[in-house]
């Protein structure tokens, strides 16, 4: 088709009765086509799925770390509670000395030990 014919089609495509796609089809037949490169689909899919697999690996790592942390945290809390209970049973209080394991009697034994008396 001559350029004037294509120009006419372009103008007619905007007319009130041209919304059925027929003129668009005719323009396509005349070679008015728009498309991306040949490997466009592959590029898109590669970009999405390579990023997705990285994200999956990252999520998996965080999940395992959270699982390990929960286990360690629970065991740690249990150990602290047992320790507190045993300190309380042994010393009868929660003073700083009982936490540090240095009661009044201990001071004397350290002095004796250091001076040799």
């Amino acid at each position: 088709m001559e350029p004037s014919g294509i120009k006419d089609l372009i103008i007619r495509s905007l007319g009130e009765n041209a919304g059925d796609g027929s003129i668009t089809g005719r323009l396509e037949e005349e070679g008015v086509t728009f498309d991306f490169g040949r490997d466009f689909t592959q590029k898109v899919v590669d970009r999405i799925f390579s990023v997705s697999s990285e994200l999956v690996a990252e999520k998996e790592l965080f999940r395992s770390m959270r699982f390990v942390f929960n286990r360690v945290a629970l065991t740690g809390v249990a150990a602290i509670l047992i320790l507190l209970f045993s300190i309380f049973m042994a010393e009868g209080s929660f003073s700083l000395n009982s936490f540090l394991g240095i009661g009044d009697s201990v001071d004397e034994s350290i002095v004796c030990l250091l001076t040799g008396i």
Binding site: M1, I10, I11, S13, G19, T24, G25, F40, V45
Partner: protein, 185 residues
């Protein structure tokens, strides 16, 4: 189902893609790439940047597929993503060029080096591209929807989320501008 998605309808493809099926999503891209190309290249011109925007459209689609309820057609959903990303790119370019040039509008639309193998096709596409390049973006989007996508005025208004009257008046002004532009080509 895997490997035979050519016959599958859009809802099946969406469901499989949400479950991470690469082949199903490839079929969606293959099915709608030309539609996206018409919108993006119609609006931005034929360049490698348009291809980047095209890729972004499908990446955004993939990440929002789980939100797709199937109330609208998949093509309309993709079309809206394409329009939004293209308009964002136009705004971005406008900001960028306005910093360096007084006449930024002309630099918003790019032309690729033509393929010499098919001269007739090249001429027709180039003529349309040149005509579109001369239009203001607000008219260009409407002409792209009507001329390249073949949507009716009502569909164009729905997709662009504009009142029907606005689309009609823009179409009429775009038609006048196009006649003027084509007269010079």
């Amino acid at each position: 189902m895997k490997g035979s998605y050519r016959q599958a309808d859009d809802s099946e493809l969406v469901k499989a893609s949400v479950n991470g099926d690469r082949l199903a999503f490839s079929e969606i891209v293959e099915r709608y790439r030309r539609m996206v190309a018409r919108t993006v290249k119609g609006m931005l011109g034929d360049s490698v940047f348009s291809e980047d925007i095209g890729q972004e459209v499908f990446i955004k689609l993939y990440h929002s597929l789980s939100d797709f309820r199937g109330e609208a057609r998949l093509s309309t959903y993709i079309q809206k993503i394409a329009i939004n990303l293209t308009l964002n790119e136009i705004k971005r370019r406008k900001r960028f060029f306005s910093m360096f040039s007084q006449d930024g509008e002309n630099e918003l639309y790019e032309h690729e080096i033509p393929d010499p193998e098919n001269e007739q096709k090249r001429d027709a596409t180039e003529l349309v591209s040149k005509a579109l390049a001369g239009l203001e973006p607000k008219f260009r989007i409407i002409v792209t929807m009507r001329m390249l996508q073949g949507y009716s005025t009502k569909e164009t208004a729905e997709i662009l989320n504009l009142p029907l009257g606005t689309v009609l008046s823009r179409l009429s002004r775009a038609q006048e501008q196009l006649k003027e532009i084509l007269g010079k080509l």
